[in-house]
């Protein structure tokens, strides 16, 4: 690729990124000093935006020029280790994903942040959160990685706890911090195993020696637990639908759209780069977990009535898609099918990129709705398309993209993932041959349900009549918020129309991870993408877009041409009952009912109860739905119960006498020494 002279003048991307990260870190204290001033919010967000764009440009420059790997060691952190940073294609790809979402959230926040009541709890942590995510992506030793990771968890936890006086938020924060600590612990073990007894905590040392098979499998499982819990993989997703909606909306967008991608990056870095050659059954585990997450996530998204929670559950679904792609890539790589592995990997990373775009747009849209109406419950919204037309447009584009409708970007990446699944007969192992198509069916189910889910979310929120006075009085949001949402939504469309451009940009990352990359797509005639061979399948976003535009225009013209002349006004059809009350509309609960009933016993353990008043009584009939999360009951509740039981019993240890403490220490020392002496 030719480098333009302008790019040649830019500073080295890695150093530039690190400087921008340092600037973000400095913004935290600045925010602490200035948050009382009215101007502070805008200033901090503008500066954070500039820093994010700097890093974005650095990452994009690296990808665009296909630069060689850049490394840098700073004398920070552990004295013997230092802080290693490295910018390779994989890091660069994720820098782009992270900072594109971050830049969008910053612009949105310039407008949205003005209405924040607890500025002092948001402004200091927001830039730190951005900095931490970038540190994780650039880190090249376990210490810096974990520092960044933990910093990211804590900063986002602080942001989740912004409005901590609401009891639901406090619970969300508690569950989040417990799960985040668990994840970090798993990653700590993971790096410990990778470093081996030699203690090489530098990624280069880990890459140089590959662990024994058992250790490698444990590393993969630990990475799956550590990174997967952060990304929201089932069954470790419990915190995500609680924590993501609790934060201020631009932070929700960051957590859902961006932080989950950092977790995906962590998994890719460990599973594809540091471990060494994979075994086939690793892919199987990742595939199954991904498929399970996709289906469970979308099913739960389908029945939520809180708009932000719908989006959070849908994040779990999309992360499931990404991990299915990664699992396939592992399986193909283990089988030596590098071209297929490159396809699956590119699909995964492309979907991660797309999800960061449309999920950010959707969360920002829900933030705009929340700010305009004060409501997150869909049953209090409705009819917003007339009151907030631009927000409605952005949300519609995001919904269409996330529902995988062509020509938007969600379709392109989900289509690529399914193309990779269609290559599974080439795999050698029978369990994979049998199960991968099953996972494909799960993905198809998830994609279909996602469309239903967003038809419901969009329809109930923006269409129909307002269900509350707040919704009826809503006003369109400000310029900055709108421009952030609309630019992200337009980016979804552009990427969907020209998917080859993005896939080519991610090719070096695939090369690094699986040792091969897909054939260059953008040079193809008519900008089609051809994942395997032209005889097999190809997709042309531009063509679909042109066709959609042309047919829409033709329809509009035809209607106006033939129908406008015979236009007459009549009362709208009223479904048989002319009751103008907004409660007679289809609501969030009623649109979820079919899905809830189909999966009632199997997934939700849903119980519907109708209390009819006695004949002659005047009170209203009540319809109650009780939904339980089976995973919570089966996995989390017993663990929580066990912990409570054990700590209750161990509480007695808090009140021993000095000599008993000494005796305890002594006894445990003796026991350990005895174990050492008697160990065969």
């Amino acid at each position: 690729m030719t480098a333009s002279p302008l790019l040649a003048l830019a500073p080295p991307p890695l150093a530039g990124s690190l400087l921008a990260i340092a600037a973000l870190l400095a913004l935290g204290p600045l925010a602490v000093l200035t948050f009382r001033s009215r101007l502070s919010s805008g200033l901090i967000y503008i500066l954070a935006f500039v820093a994010s764009v700097t890093i974005l440009v650095a990452g994009a420059t690296h990808l665009w020029r296909s630069d060689s790997v850049e490394s840098l060691t700073l004398a920070l952190g552990l004295p013997s280790l230092g802080a290693h940073f490295r910018l390779d294609a994989l890091s660069a790809a994720f820098l782009v994903i992270v900072d594109l979402g971050a830049a969008g959230a910053c612009i949105f926040a310039i407008g949205y942040g003005r209405h924040e009541t607890a500025r002092g709890r948001v402004l200091p942590f927001f830039p730190l959160f951005l900095a931490a995510m970038n540190v994780v992506v650039l880190a090249a030793d376990a210490f810096s990685f974990l520092m960044g990771w933990e910093f990211m968890s804590l900063a986002s936890w602080a942001l989740v706890m912004t409005h901590h006086r609401e009891s639901e938020n406090a619970r969300a924060g508690y569950i989040y911090i417990v799960m985040a600590s668990l994840g970090t612990l798993a990653l700590l073990f993971c790096f410990g195993l990778l470093a081996g007894s030699g203690g090489g905590y530098d990624f280069a040392a880990m890459r140089a020696h590959s662990p024994a098979p058992v250790a490698a499998a444990s590393v993969l499982l630990m990475a799956l637990i550590g990174a997967g819990s952060k990304a929201g993989l089932a069954p470790l997703h419990a915190w995500l639908p609680l924590a993501h909606p609790a934060a201020p909306s631009h932070v929700s967008a960051l957590m859902s759209g961006v932080m989950t991608k950092v977790a995906v990056y962590g998994f890719i870095r460990i599973a594809f780069d540091l471990i060494g050659a994979p075994l086939w059954w690793w892919g199987l585990i990742v595939l199954l977990v991904g498929g399970l997450s996709a289906v469970l996530g979308v099913l739960f998204a389908m029945i939520q009535t809180d708009l932000k929670r719908v989006l959070a559950y849908s994040t779990i679904e999309n992360i499931g898609f990404v991990f299915v792609g990664l699992g396939l890539a592992l399986a193909f790589e283990a089988n030596g099918l590098t071209a297929a592995a490159a396809l699956a990997f590119t699909a995964a990373i492309f979907h991660a990129f797309n999800h960061s775009l449309f999920k950010s747009a959707l969360f920002l849209g829900s933030g705009a709705v929340l700010e305009a109406t004060g409501a997150r419950e869909m049953d209090k919204l409705g009819g917003l398309i007339h009151r907030m037309p631009a927000t409605a447009l952005a949300f519609l584009m995001g919904s269409v993209a996330i529902s995988a409708v062509p020509p938007f970007n969600g379709f392109a990446s989900e289509w690529l993932t399914l193309q990779a699944i269609l290559l599974s007969p080439q795999l050698h192992e029978w369990p994979l041959k049998i199960l991968v198509p099953g996972v494909g069916a799960m993905l198809a189910l998830a994609a279909a349900l996602a469309a239903a889910c967003f038809v419901r979310a969009y329809g109930v929120t923006f269409l129909g009549r307002p269900r509350s006075t707040d919704a009826a009085d809503a006003k369109e949001t400000d310029f900055f918020s709108l421009s952030a949402m609309l630019s992200l939504a337009v980016a979804c469309l552009i990427v969907g129309v020209l998917p080859g451009l993005v896939m080519d940009a991610f090719a070096p990352a695939a090369q690094l991870a699986v040792g091969a990359h897909m054939p260059a797509q953008i040079h193809d005639r008519w900008l089609s993408i051809v994942p395997v061979a032209e005889s097999r399948s190809s997709y042309n976003g531009l063509l679909v877009f042109a066709f959609a535009l042309a047919s829409m225009a033709a329809t509009v013209l035809a209607i106006h041409w033939f129908a406008s002349r015979s236009l007459r006004r009549t009362p709208a059809w009223d479904c048989g009952f002319p009751n103008p009350n907004s409660i007679t509309q289809y609501g969030a609960g009623s649109m979820a009912q079919p899905v809830r009933r189909v999966f009632a016993d199997f997934v939700f353990r849903a119980r519907e109860q109708v209390d009819m008043p006695a004949p002659g009584a005047f009170e209203a009939a009540r319809f109650r739905v009780d939904v339980r999360d089976r995973l919570w009951d089966a996995l989390y509740a017993p663990i929580a119960g066990l912990v409570a039981f054990v700590s209750d019993k161990l509480n007695y240890l808090q009140f021993l006498t000095i000599r008993r403490y000494l005796s305890l220490v002594f006894a445990s020392l003796i026991a350990l020494l005895l174990a050492l002496a008697l160990w065969p």
Binding site: I658, F666, L669, L674
Partner: protein, 220 residues
Amino acid sequence: MHGASFDIAHLLAGALVLVSFMLLYQDRLYALLNVFALHAVVLAASVAWQAYVQDAPHLYVTVAIALVLKAGIIPIALHNMVRRMGIHREIETVGGIGATMLAGMGLVALSMMVMLRVTAGADPLAREDLAFALAVILLGLLIMVTRRNAVSQIVGFMSLENGLILAAAGANGMPLVVEISIAFSVLIALIVIGVFLFRIRERFDTVDVHALDRFRGERL
């Protein structure tokens, strides 16, 4: 390592263990403090021999610290405390002396088993030294666990620390800084515990730690 120098090192370290046993059954405070001074002297001799054999002059600093601080200042200070508090009466042990001695022997056997197994192939002098040092440490802990009187618990703690010094001196090339910092921490521990002792006695008229437990309303 020649036969003779090895034997002498062995002898001195063994003597330290023996003195630890003497500490274990002393049931009068003055006698306990005197034996503790002896403990420090034996430690000094042992470390001095190591310094001579290893040709490591900085270890002589350790010797000086041990002699001045542990054989001199600390026992004298503790003597003064005991006299001023008027507690030179008999001290009781938990469990009989016979049982305690048997437990001590068990600990020595355990430390031999552990150390000789773990350090197979190491320098034989360091090996023996480490085994004895571990025995001294464990015996010090045993003293702390079996005593009720705060003064004798301090003595147990200090003898434990002597075991650490013995282990460190046996290992070739321990930096002096470590040694000095250990010595200072012990000194500070003495001061803190001394203050603490007087405070306990002021309040409870005894330095028997039982009184503390009773104060906290604990069953024993």
